[in-house]
Subunit: 362 residues, 4 copies
């Protein structure tokens, strides 16, 4: 119930601060008997990791989760899966100026108001570093879902004003995986690169949108009226650093449509009734329909920029602030595996609640 635990039956508890010794997580409620593919888990971690794209921060961290519980002889035991990810590359000197300033649009100001305290060294608990925990836990959930025919592909759908117009159903996970910007649309990606190069030169940043498509979810998961599948997905996504919006199916575009345009009529396919179109985004009344589930998550521009900003310091005097240190031009490519991970946790949780995944994998 405390704020660092997420989920109903499958619960992730997250801990750790960006400049402490480690971040980590405890994933409880995971079925016993699943063989864990540590290489696949490392690939997922690698995708979130900063430092290997030209528009991303140069921190260099191996991000190897050390599992201390829940796996025996390569399989899950049913005990909580606990892991640590050490923080190896801390440079507190970069943050010295932060004792005098609240960085504009950064969590420090609000954190101070709440806890009477904020670790100025780089965000502490509000740092994007915390999302490494989600990716590690999500990688476990993804492996579990894979065993039940469910795949999840998140991707960069927009950076700044450059938008990929591929429909979710056409997104190819292989292309996304190979793309440095995690964009399924090579033409859009080329433009995104030009945009990012320009912003980097200006010491500025931009936002974007992560899309996500979930394939293979059977009809019947979701717990109305409050734990509707989209409500739990929305909470999961809006709990990610820098997320500003969530929409599923036709989303905000549905607002200006007519019912006769937006409705998905039924048709029979191979003796089974199913919606002929999928404006709904795979969920009706809070419950999965068996069609692809897809949604978008908007991210704000990175707030830490080197470009000087006029802002008042803690003493009240307005001054130019230029935030040094290592910062992404756009968080979106790195947010892609985080969105994927959180989606996996929600879907696995609801598959367990519905009894569609057993507690014990044989």
């Amino acid at each position: 119930m405390a704020g660092n635990t997420f989920g109903h039956l499958l619960c992730l508890t997250s801990f750790g601060e960006s400049h402490g010794p480690a971040v980590g997580g405890v994933l409880d409620g995971f079925p016993s008997g699943l063989p864990i593919d540590m290489e696949a888990l490392m690939t997922a971690m690698e995708r979130r990791r900063p430092g290997h794209g030209e528009f991303q921060t140069a921190r260099n961290e191996a991000d190897l989760p050390e599992f201390v519980s829940g796996i025996f002889q390569g399989k899950t035991t049913g005990a909580p899966l606990a892991f640590l990810i050490r923080n190896n590359d801390q440079r507190p000197a970069d943050y010295k100026k932060m004792e005098e300033f609240y960085r504009p649009s950064h969590a420090g100001f609000a954190w101070d108001a709440k806890f009477g305290f904020h670790d100025h060294r780089g965000g502490g608990r509000s740092s994007a570093r915390e999302t490494a925990v989600r990716v590690a836990a999500g990688a476990l959930a993804l492996q579990l879902l894979g065993k039940f025919g469910i795949s999840i592909t998140a991707y960069t759908g927009q950076i700044g004003n450059v938008v990929s117009h591929l429909s979710p159903g056409d997104v190819n996970p292989v292309i996304v995986m190979d793309s440095p910007l995690r964009c399924p649309d090579p033409l859009a990606e080329a433009e995104m690169k030009i945009l990012l190069t320009g912003l980097k030169a200006e010491d500025d940043s931009t936002g974007g949108v992560v899309g996500c498509v979930i394939r293979g979810v059977p009809a019947g998961i979701g717990e109305p009226v409050f734990d509707r599948l989209q409500a739990d997905l929305a909470k999961a996504m809006m709990s990610i650093n820098a997320a500003k919006g969530f929409e599923y199916g036709d989303g905000f575009a549905a607002a200006s449509k007519k019912g006769s345009e937006h409705n998905d009529p039924y048709e029979e396919q191979e003796g089974r009734l199913r919606p002929a179109s999928n404006h709904a985004g795979g969920i009706l009344g809070g419950i999965s329909t068996g069609e692809d589930i897809f949604f978008n998550v908007a991210f704000k521009p990175v707030s830490s920029i080197s470009k000087p900003q006029l802002t008042a310091g803690k003493s009240g005097q307005v001054q130019h602030l230029s935030i040094e240190g290592r910062h992404d031009v756009c968080i979106v490519p790195r947010a892609v595996p985080v969105v994927e991970a959180m989606a996996a946790l929600v879907i696995a949780d609801h598959m367990l609640i519905s009894g569609k995944i057993p507690r014990n994998i044989l």
Copy 2:
């Protein structure tokens, strides 16, 4: 933990089906000692109620919540506040055709997949009738918040492609309350009426957007990393029938902004540091900043339309379906008090968690 309970310390449990004898709710964790203004509660109920707008369904229900627990001598006792809202105006005959068809984009199909069962009489638990419960509980939360200087105003921000361009800070609750469409912008409202009149003539429907602004929340509420204030608001909003998207602060528009445009620098006002602008929407790092909190919720077009739709019946044969019965052209004006109510539940819950509202009001 089951799907019909919402909240952490202040919990609403909702029950009832649209064509059963009653819907109702239990609001637990509410402080003792608050005098309840039943007239104000009835006004809130009245605003949600169908049947008094020309674009809304003609059901006629008094919607008087009968309180059976938690109030003694006009004050809350600290015991759960339980109430019933009787369903007086049921016309099951309208729904006869629904035994043969799943209505396109209606919950029945998914509900059947989950429960092996769906009450064809009009949505059962998936009906918008259920939102009356939220409005009644939210009205109690609004009264509690009012005592602590917090006010919440939801409003119609968009219907179809007609958009109100008032900024959230300029929304006047008195104008909203007086507006039949709950729109704070009279010019936009006039256009909206024309649009709705046309759609009604076509037997069609449309969607829209509800905006909401929360004033007076102190800095420091919200429980990162998962129970961030915006995450709980997102879950609350996306649990409302027909909601398709949620955004706060600059929302999806933030995606195409630069950091230097989107950041809110600090300034000193009356000896206190505060953000000079509010692109953030009143929340940073998941915690309130003390500024106005504002967000939007997108709603899809009403799926029940009289305009004939080509769709397959349960037997598989494609046929024209024309949904008779009473249906709104646009749900948005009636969703306004529901959004307000759910926001009130989230804010009151977090005020209690943070200790900013005591369990016992003196």
Copy 3:
């Protein structure tokens, strides 16, 4: 999460006060498709009901739960099961003196300290009247468990110093059901009656012990390390009014045993390994073993007695207080169905969590 909701996946939310219009409950997470036997439910209600034994209070209430949600055409729908039990027989006059006194060992004193308020008319929320809700919800859970071969029998094991020495395995539910004192041992029951007659003449009361045996639970339910089966049973039992102790298996007697006496060795029976004895009480390491689960719950003597007590009134002056009104000499026979009900809720919840009962009964 608020204090009036119990359970993990199967959640009972309880509401209502003894002297308000009704008590009631919402049982959420109950599988869809179970035919409900209303007569069996009424029989369970009848057993808890006061007024039909010579040592029990003379309140006369029909205690008919009115279901307002969750049942359609005689079967559960998967929606929350909500019910009201009207309070028909209120006699506030009996409680007039209570405005001047806190009744010794009654909840009023503590309730006042918490809520700044206590309904002097007879316990309000702390009244045993609230247990009617548990019995109604438990009756539904019992029907669900019955479908899966699980039966629960609670019984009077001790009244005052009169103890039934039947072992839990020998308790016959038919004898218990027929016994006015719910005692499986007719010789003990005869003595109990003599004891109670004497106490009634003295205007005094006594306590006792309710035993309970649960048969047919498969091995493998319970969620260590905190949601051990016995931990959830203990919480359930200790949440009942007047309960002072819980023990399972050999319980407190195990404290003075040797390991060699207390251990249950294994033996093979029909090709299956099982414990040859059952000192454990059917649970090891927090998980069911497949053997009978049995436990005891101690209840204190009824605190409301007509016999004069020397106690200080709210004004501080010590005076004789004689509590008029209708009171049981011993609560134990009426606590029997409450213990049974709470046990049913815990076992059904864990059967659902373990996936041993599906969410949808075909």
Copy 4:
């Protein structure tokens, strides 16, 4: 909600297995700003640690919790407090025989039934090793409570049939701390030693009772009707390995008392009404009265004994089993700090829920 997290607002998530690399915990919801006394924490850990009493197992583990989150510059930050306790002294060879046998009355049999799997190396997650996590987390809660004038003293009240007859109010924490058996009564302790020496010679074990007294809790904490203070205490205690029973106040002895004997009349003391006696054990109606809270927890005899037992192996054949390895004669002295720790977690949680401890300590 998953089984390895305990608490409402203050939540302990426990992880780790006895023969994995570490056990550990995450304590979330802890107020910010409390200076942590690591020496006091180590003293608490030391008390639980095996290997320094002649009747306890000879495992030698430093049990130093390594904190990886939640403390900055010696104070709590409001972020989750996460810690690891490495397992240094594993001797899997001792457990080789366990691949062929389920140890009688040990968790392995039930664990296998649930997870299809049990770590035969020594209990895995069901090992008493897991309680080290509770003690570390409890030590933090004890420091928090100390700041608010609340102290908790658990003690050995019974070993085998040797009972200490000190009343809870007379228990002196200094004597308990100095006593090797954690017994407040030196005469009883002397007898307990003789008993344990005899049992050790027989290669047998025994059970016992841990008592606990909580001083300084203000009136008004506890959340009826289900999260009554005693219900949460009972769950906490019954979640401890080997616990078989819980009672508070007069407990099971209340069963045979009369109302007139058991009731606590009120008296005025220094202008304040309070109970003149405390049969209630400091809780009425689920809410603290301001008096001492006291309870007992029964523990079964240690099930791992070297004395040969006749039991069937997994193959079904009955054989003598003599469990080698390091085992306590009686777990009770080591359970004392575990009971204290769990009590501290419950009380701190309820103090936070009631708003009597703020989220931010100045």
